[in-house]
Amino acid sequence: MLNEIVFLLCAAVTLVGAVAAMMLRNLVHCALCAAGAFAGLAAIYLQLDAEFVGFAQVLIYVGAIAILIVFAVLLTRGGDVQPSAATTSPSWWVGLPVAALVVASLIGSIMASPRLLRLPTPNVHAPVKQIGEQLMNQFVMPLETVGLLLTAALLGAVVIGLREPRKTESNAP
C-alpha cells in the first residue's frame, strides 16, 4: 500500500513536472520543471530497486542535462525578445491530437494485455558491484564505444558551439 502511495506521488511529481515543462512560457521555468520531472523518475527507479540507475538519473539528468538546458536557454535568448510571440508552433493543433493518439494507442495496448497486471514481482538484488562486473565483462565493448561516443560528442559540441571563423562574419551584413 505504501508502495502504491509512493508510486502515485512520484508519478504525480513526474507528470506535473513534465506538463509544466512543456506548457510554461518562460523557458527557464520550463527547464526547471523538466528537472523536477527527471527527479521524479529517479525516485520511481529507486522504487523499482534500480538504485544505480536512479542515482545515475539524478546525476546526469537533473545534475547535468538540466543545467545544460538552462545554459542553452540563456544563451539563445537574445533574438526573439518580444514576449508576445507565440510559443507554440503554428500547427500545434495537429501535434496534440497526434500525441493523444499515441498515448491512447499505447495505453490501449497496455490495457489490452491483462497479463501485465498479473506479473509476479521477483525479488532482486542488484548491487552496484554486480553492475560494475557486468559492465567490465559482458558489456565492455559497448561501454568503450559509449565512452568514445561521449568524447566525440563533446568535441563535436565544442566545435559546433565555437564561434565560426572570421570568414562568415565578414560575409554577414
Binding site: 500547427s91 495537429v94 499505447l106
Partner: protein, 657 residues
C-alpha cells in the same frame, strides 16, 4: 605455176604496203606517195597478168594457211588462182592503174594529195585481196576494207558536209547488206565447217562439186544481201548516187569499175552454192534495178549522178545475167562495163575538171569542139553503154544477158524489163551527150573550157580502145571469155552469131537502141541548141512523171520518213528507257529507302526516345510531388512518425487477432 601461186599474195599486199608506208609519210611528200601507189598497183598489174597467163593453161590452184585456232579446229584463210579471179584481178589492177595515173592530173591541186593516193592504194589492195581470197572470211574481211576505203574516198573532201554525210551513208547502207552477208557466212560456216572455197575437195565450193552440197536458200539470200548492198541493188541502192560526192576518179574507180562489181563478183564466186530459188531472186532484183535506176537516170541533171544511176542499172543487168545465165554472162558484162563505165566517169571527170567543177549538164554544152578527145572517147563509152551494135563491147555483153533472160524458164518479165532498160539507157545517154557536148555553151564556165592534160586524156584513150575491143572476146561467135571461165575449148564459129536465137534478139535490141538514140537526140539536140536551157523538154511533156523520176521515186524521202526516223525514235526510246524509266526506278528505290530512314528516325525520336523521356519524367514528377512532404519542418516529420507509429501499432494489435 606453183611459184606464181606462192607470190599471189603480193598482188594485194603491194598496194597495201604502199598505203601503209604512204600513210606514215609526211604530208608534203606528194610525189613519193603517188609514186608508191602507182608503182605498187603496177606491180599488182604485172603479177595479175602473170597469173592470168598461168590460168590460160592450167586449172585452179589454192594455198591456205591457219589463221587462228579455236576449240579443236581453226579458222583458215587462203588465196586461190582460178580464171574468175585472174581475169578480175587483171581488170581491176589495170583500171586502177589507169585511174591512179588519171588522178595525178585530176587531184594535182589538192592539199591532201598524198593521202588520196594512200586511200586509193588501200582500196586497190582490199579489192585485189577480195579477188584472190580463197576463203569467204577473207573475202568478207577485204569486202569490209573495201567499204572502209570507199568511206574514206567518198568522204575525201571532208570539209563538204554533204561529202561526209554521203560517206557515212555509203558505209552504213552497205553495212546493212554486209550484216546479212556475215550472218549467211556464219550459217554456212556452221553447215560446212569451213569457209575455204577450195581446199583439196574440202572447201565449201569443192563440196558443191564433190558432195553435191547446196547451201540453203536462206544462206544464199543472206549472202546475196551483201551483194545487194555493195552493188547498189534495190532496195539498198540509195548510197550509190550520193557517193558521187567523192572526187571523180574515186567515182570511176569505186562506183564504176571495181567496188560495186565486188557484189557481182561475190555472187559469181559463190555461184555453186546458190540455190535456184536464190538465183530467181537475184534475177528479179537485177531486172527491177535495171529498169528502176535507168528510169531515174532519165530525169537527172548531174552528170555524175546520171552515170551513177546508169551504174546501178547496169549492175542490175549483171545480176540479171548471173541469175538467169550464169557466171560467164554476168562476168562478161562486168568486164565490159568496167571499161566503158570507167571511161565515162573519167570523161565526165575531164569535163568537170575543165569546167571548174561544174556538174550540172544544163550548165554545160558545146564542149564537142572545146574538148575533142574527151568528146570522142566519151562518145565511144556512150555507145558501148547503149549497146550500139557490133563494134562496141556493151552490145555483146548486154546481148548475152538478154539472150539468157530470154531463155530463162522462170518468167518472161525480166526479159522485157531488160529490153525496157536498154531503151532507157540509150535514151538518157543520148540526152546527156546532147546537153553536154552539143549545142551552145550555156555558161561562161563551159565557154572557157579547154582540153585536159595528157595525163588524163591518155587513160581515156586507152579505156576507149578497150571499151571497143573487150567486146570481141565474148561474142557468141567467139565465146572465148565464157570458155575461159568455164574451162572449155574455144573456136570461132560465125554461124552461132547468125542462128535463129541470136539474130532476132540482136536486131530487136539494135532497133530499140536506135529508136531511143534518135528520139532522144531529136528532143535534146534541139533543146541543147536553144539559148536557154531551164526546163527539160520531158518535164514540159510529162511534169508529174518527170518530177517523180527527178526525185528518184522519193526513195530517200521514204527511207528518211521510215527507217531513219524509226531508228532515231528507237534511239530516243532507249535513251528514255535509260534516263527516265530505269533511272527513275533506281531513284524510286533510293527514295523509298530514304523515306523509310526518315520514318525510322522519327520513330526513334518520337516513340522510343519519347517514351523513355516520358517514363523518366513521370518518375521524376511523382518524386517531386512526394518531396513536397519534405518541407524541412522537423516537427512535421515527427508528427508523421507519430501517426505512422500509431498506424503500425494499430495494425499490429488489431491485425494480429
Amino acid at each position: 605455176m606453183e611459184s606464181i601461186v606462192k607470190y599471189l599474195w603480193l598482188i594485194p599486199t603491194a598496194p597495201l604496203l604502199a598505203a601503209g608506208v604512204g600513210a606514215l609519210l609526211p604530208r608534203r611528200q606528194r610525189q613519193l606517195g603517188a609514186g608508191l601507189a602507182i608503182g605498187a598497183i603496177g606491180i599488182s598489174f604485172l603479177l595479175s597478168c602473170a597469173a592470168f597467163l598461168v590460168t590460160l593453161h592450167s586449172g585452179r590452184v589454192s594455198s591456205n594457211f591457219r589463221w587462228f585456232d579455236f576449240g579443236t579446229t581453226s579458222v583458215q584463210l587462203g588465196w586461190v588462182l582460178d580464171p574468175l579471179g585472174a581475169i578480175m584481178a587483171v581488170m581491176v589492177s589495170f583500171v586502177s592503174l589507169l585511174i591512179f595515173v588519171y588522178s595525178l592530173g585530176y587531184m594535182a591541186k589538192d592539199e591532201n594529195f598524198k593521202q588520196f593516193f594512200c586511200f586509193l592504194a588501200l582500196f586497190a589492195a582490199a579489192m585485189l585481196g577480195l579477188i584472190i581470197a580463197n576463203s569467204l572470211l577473207l573475202f568478207f574481211m577485204c569486202w569490209e576494207l573495201v567499204g572502209l576505203a570507199s568511206y574514206l574516198l567518198i568522204g575525201f573532201w571532208f570539209q563538204k558536209p554533204s561529202a561526209a554525210a554521203a560517206a557515212k551513208k555509203a558505209f552504213i547502207v552497205t553495212r546493212i547488206g554486209d550484216l546479212g552477208f556475215l550472218v549467211g557466212m556464219l550459217l554456212l560456216y556452221a553447215k560446212t565447217g569451213t569457209l575455204l572455197f577450195y581446199d583439196n575437195g574440202n572447201g565449201c565450193l569443192d563440196q558443191t562439186a564433190v558432195a553435191g552440197l547446196v547451201a540453203s536458200t536462206t544462206i544464199s539470200l543472206l549472202i546475196f544481201c551483201g551483194a545487194v548492198g555493195k552493188s547498189g541493188q534495190i532496195p539498198l541502192h540509195v548510197w550509190l548516187p550520193d557517193a558521187m560526192e567523192g572526187p571523180t576518179p574515186v567515182s570511176a574507180l569505186i562506183h564504176a569499175a571495181t567496188m560495186v562489181a565486188a557484189g557481182v563478183f561475190l555472187i559469181a564466186r559463190v555461184y555453186p552454192l546458190m540455190t535456184p530459188e536464190a538465183l530467181q531472186a537475184v534475177t528479179w532484183v537485177g531486172a527491177l534495178t535495171a529498169v528502176f535506176a535507168a528510169s531515174i537516170a532519165v530525169a537527172q541533171n548531174d552528170i555524175k549522178r546520171i552515170l551513177a544511176y546508169s551504174t546501178v542499172s547496169q549492175l542490175g543487168y549483171m545480176m540479171m545475167g548471173l541469175g538467169a545465165g550464169g557466171v560467164a554472162v554476168g562476168m562478161f558484162h562486168l568486164m565490159t562495163h568496167a571499161f566503158f563505165k570507167a571511161l565515162l566517169f573519167l570523161g565526165a571527170g575531164s569535163v568537170i575538171h575543165c569546167c571548174h567543177e561544174e556538174q550540172d549538164i544544163r550548165e554545160l554544152g558545146g564542149l564537142r569542139t572545146r574538148q575533142p578527145i574527151t568528146f570522142a572517147t566519151y562518145a565511144v563509152g556512150m555507145m558501148a553503154l547503149c549497146g550500139v551494135p557490133l563494134f562496141f563491147s556493151g552490145f555483146w555483153s548486154k546481148d548475152a544477158i538478154l539472150d539468157a533472160t530470154h531463155h530463162w524458164n522462170g518468167s518472161p518479165i525480166p526479159f522485157y524489163l531488160g529490153l525496157l532498160g536498154a531503151f532507157l539507157t540509150a535514151f538518157y545517154m543520148t540526152r546527156q551527150i546532147c546537153w553536154v557536148f552539143f549545142g551552145k555553151p550555156a555558161t561562161a564556165k563551159a565557154e572557157h573550157a579547154h582540153e585536159s592534160p595528157p595525163v588524163m586524156t591518155v587513160p581515156l584513150v586507152i579505156l576507149a580502145t578497150l571499151a571497143v575491143v573487150a567486146g570481141f572476146f565474148g561474142t557468141p561467135a567467139w565465146p572465148w571469155f565464157q570458155n575461159y571461165l568455164e574451162g572449155g575449148q574455144v573456136g570461132f564459129d560465125l554461124s552461132k552469131l547468125m542462128n535463129e536465137h541470136q539474130l532476132p534478139l540482136m536486131l530487136l535490141s539494135t532497133a530499140l537502141v536506135a529508136a531511143a538514140i534518135v528520139w532522144s537526140g531529136w528532143i535534146y539536140g534541139r533543146a541543147a541548141a536553144r539559148p536557154t536551157r531551164e526546163t527539160d523538154p520531158l518535164e514540159v511533156a510529162q511534169p508529174t512523171i518527170f518530177v517523180l523520176l527527178q526525185n528518184k521515186f522519193y526513195v530517200d524521202e521514204f527511207y528518211n520518213a521510215t527507217v531513219v526516223r524509226l531508228t532515231a525514235a528507237f534511239a530516243k526510246f532507249s535513251d528514255w528507257l535509260d534516263r527516265v524509266f530505269l533511272g527513275g526506278l533506281i531513284k524510286a528505290v533510293c527514295v523509298f529507302a530514304l523515306v523509310l530512314a526518315w520514318l525510322d528516325r522519327a520513330l526513334d525520336e518520337a516513340l522510343v526516345n519519347e517514351s523513355f523521356d516520358t517514363g523518366t519524367e513521370t518518375v521524376r514528377s511523382s518524386g517531386r510531388w512526394l518531396s513536397r512532404l519534405q518541407n524541412g519542418q522537423v516537427q512535421r516529420y515527427l508528427r508523421i512518425i507519430g501517426v505512422a507509429f500509431c498506424g503500425l501499432l494499430i495494425l499490429l494489435l488489431w491485425g494480429s487477432r
